[in-house]
């Protein structure tokens, strides 16, 4: 039942140059969005705080590239990457972070609540594990409607402590629901290494339910994509749910203000992941090695994304705040 997908680091890539460029670009868009988000926080321009996705880009993009636009995702407090990967616009995301009127939630939600119905993003969620029920229910609905949609529930390994996740995984397996539970194991739940809060294995939790379970190198976007593509196709055909543990790493702290963190995470470890396991760098090297892109073409992609992000941010900074009268809007129909 439990299988490990080894990343296929050698040999020709089984993707087109076009797909390769899109994947690279999507990961880079997340990276640049988060750079801006961090700067906004450090410059005191963004209210509240935010949890950066930097370092985990291959998971969101590898997963969402396996989905159709109509497919569902639910996201987490560290959700910007999921939003971008599922097709969200950077300008409307920045506007939401800044609490501006054109933001995805009209400024009502902020960083931890971005939802994008048009692209099947049922929303980020600031309650750990809080969206597990929503994803499972969406999958149940898809099955009942015969729509062929699949739901992906993103969650961090910290959510394994929440009862809801186990309750809905049991239902999903019992009822053969088209939902994939994607555990982003970035090693730390808030300020604590996952080994101090997590007994047993992640995959073993699914195994106990008889659910398909895989683990994958979450820094390898193609490895993630390969596993998800198979599982999504199976789920679409009535093959039921699965759990995928993606081994990944968040470069920043738990949130943007978590700067002095050596008491729980050594700098050397951070450096190791940044230098040797950066998902964008690794993928770029593979694209070049396979002859699917040149270094110059990748640099041009990067520049284009930087330009897009700068314009998106300028739009958001100039956007109006919601009218005070909107505070009671959308409580009820």
């Amino acid at each position: 039942m439990i299988e490990t997908k080894e990343p296929s680091m050698s040999g020709a890539l089984r993707i087109s140059a076009e797909v390769g460029s899109r994947i690279y670009q999507q990961m880079w868009r997340i990276r640049v969005f988060e750079e801006h988000a961090n700067e906004l926080y450090l410059a005191g321009k963004m209210p509240g705080l935010t949890h950066l996705y930097t370092g985990q880009e291959a998971v969101a993009v590898g997963v969402c590239e396996a989905l159709q636009r109509e497919d569902y995702i639910t996201s987490t407090h560290r959700g910007h990457g999921h939003c971008v990967a599922k097709g969200a616009r950077l300008d409307l995301m920045f506007a939401e972070l800044l609490g501006r009127s054109p933001g995805y939630n009209r400024g009502k939600g902020g960083s931890m609540h971005i939802a994008d119905q048009e692209n099947g993003n049922l929303g980020a969620n600031a309650i750990v594990g809080g969206s597990a029920g929503i994803a499972t229910g969406a999958a149940l609905s898809a099955k009942m409607r015969g729509s062929g949609q699949v739901a992906v529930c993103f969650f961090g390994e910290g959510a394994l402590g929440q009862g809801l996740l186990h309750e809905v995984m049991n239902m999903a397996q019992l009822w053969d629901l088209p939902v994939i539970y994607v555990c982003e194991n970035n090693r730390y739940g808030e300020y604590t290494h996952f080994s101090e809060t997590t007994a047993g294995t992640v995959l073993g939790r699914a195994q106990a339910l008889g659910m398909k379970a895989f683990e994958v190198d979450g820094q390898d976007v193609l490895a993630v994509n390969e596993v998800l593509t198979q599982l999504v196709a199976a789920a679409r055909d009535g093959g039921g749910p699965a759990l995928v543990e993606c081994h990944t790493y968040r470069y920043h702290g738990h949130h943007v203000g978590d700067i002095n963190r050596e008491y729980y995470r050594p700098k050397a470890e951070e450096l190791e992941w940044r230098e040797k396991r950066d998902p964008i760098k690794l993928f770029g090297e593979r694209l070049v090695a396979a002859g699917l892109a040149s270094a110059e073409e990748l640099a041009a992609l990067q520049a284009a994304v930087r330009e897009e992000a700068a314009a998106a941010l300028a739009f958001a900074l100039a956007a109006p705040f919601p009218d005070p009268s909107e505070v009671t809007l959308h409580v009820y129909a």
């Binding site: 939600g109 960083s111 931890m112 609540h113 600031a126 009862g163 300020y191 729980y264 505070v327 009671t328």
Partner: protein
Amino acid sequence: MSALTMVQTIARTLDEEMARDDRVVVLGEDVGKRGGVFLATEKLFDKYGPDRVIDSPLSEAAIIGAAVGMAAHGLRPVAEIQFADYVYPGFDQLVSQVAKLRYRSGGQFTAPLVVRMPAGGGVKGGHHHSQSPEAHFVHTAGLKVVFPSTPADARGLLKSAIRDDDPVVFMEPKRLYRAVKEELPDDLDALVPIGKAAVRRVGDDVVLVSYGGSMAETTRAADALVEQGLSPHVIDLRSLAPWDEETVLEAVARVGRVVLVSEAPKSASVMSEVAATIAEELLDQLLAPPLRVSGFDTPYPYAQDREYLPGPARIMRAVQRVLDY
């Protein structure tokens, strides 16, 4: 003792109580090595070690559930729920197990535990980091609920809560965690009794009743009223279950006008209960209807918390209404 902020006071008080009674243990998410996300348990791990300062998984139901068992069997757990908004996964434990343990066992078992939780808005936390869920707990018989607004009250009430033989929900106004410093008494047994309000200012024109984070704006409104030559009487409830009916009713009976200020949503709020009690007991002596100034009956809004939180201007408009009535 030097002057401390509220959050420093809470850490100090936990230290004092753990030193006094080795049955007192702290548990919660990142309360140990990290010292809590707001540092309300700072340095306790170094001093008392992992057996008494327990870093838990992100499992609110398990934190509160385990605390019931610990409390029923010889310990005095102080559980931290990292944000009051996170209490809902543990809500069943609190309502169905903690609150009813004594009653349903015919007094054989008790759950002398404290559940601490930072609550309220004003920090741009969005829907899931800003709520004021105290009314749920006040509505639940078997729980005591306190919500201090000053460092000294936080200390005195936390000591009372830890020493109480019943479960106490200890709400902390996170936007006031570092708002003021206060010199605290040296007396390690300086308790603030649960159920007793504090009169912050004595006056004759209007009674302002508040608690927790909203005490900051209520105080500012009262200062502004004094500048206008008015004489407000200001009561800080501090305890919400039980609440100090005597102090409130005595003042309202004397003054005849009352404004009730809380950032919690208005419907079925703690202040609704206070208003209803005033109406039931004092209708003949009221010169104006009791007015509530509250948060809105909406989820907590991210961009618009300035509108949502009852500020001095809204409080003073309500005061004007009861004066003009």
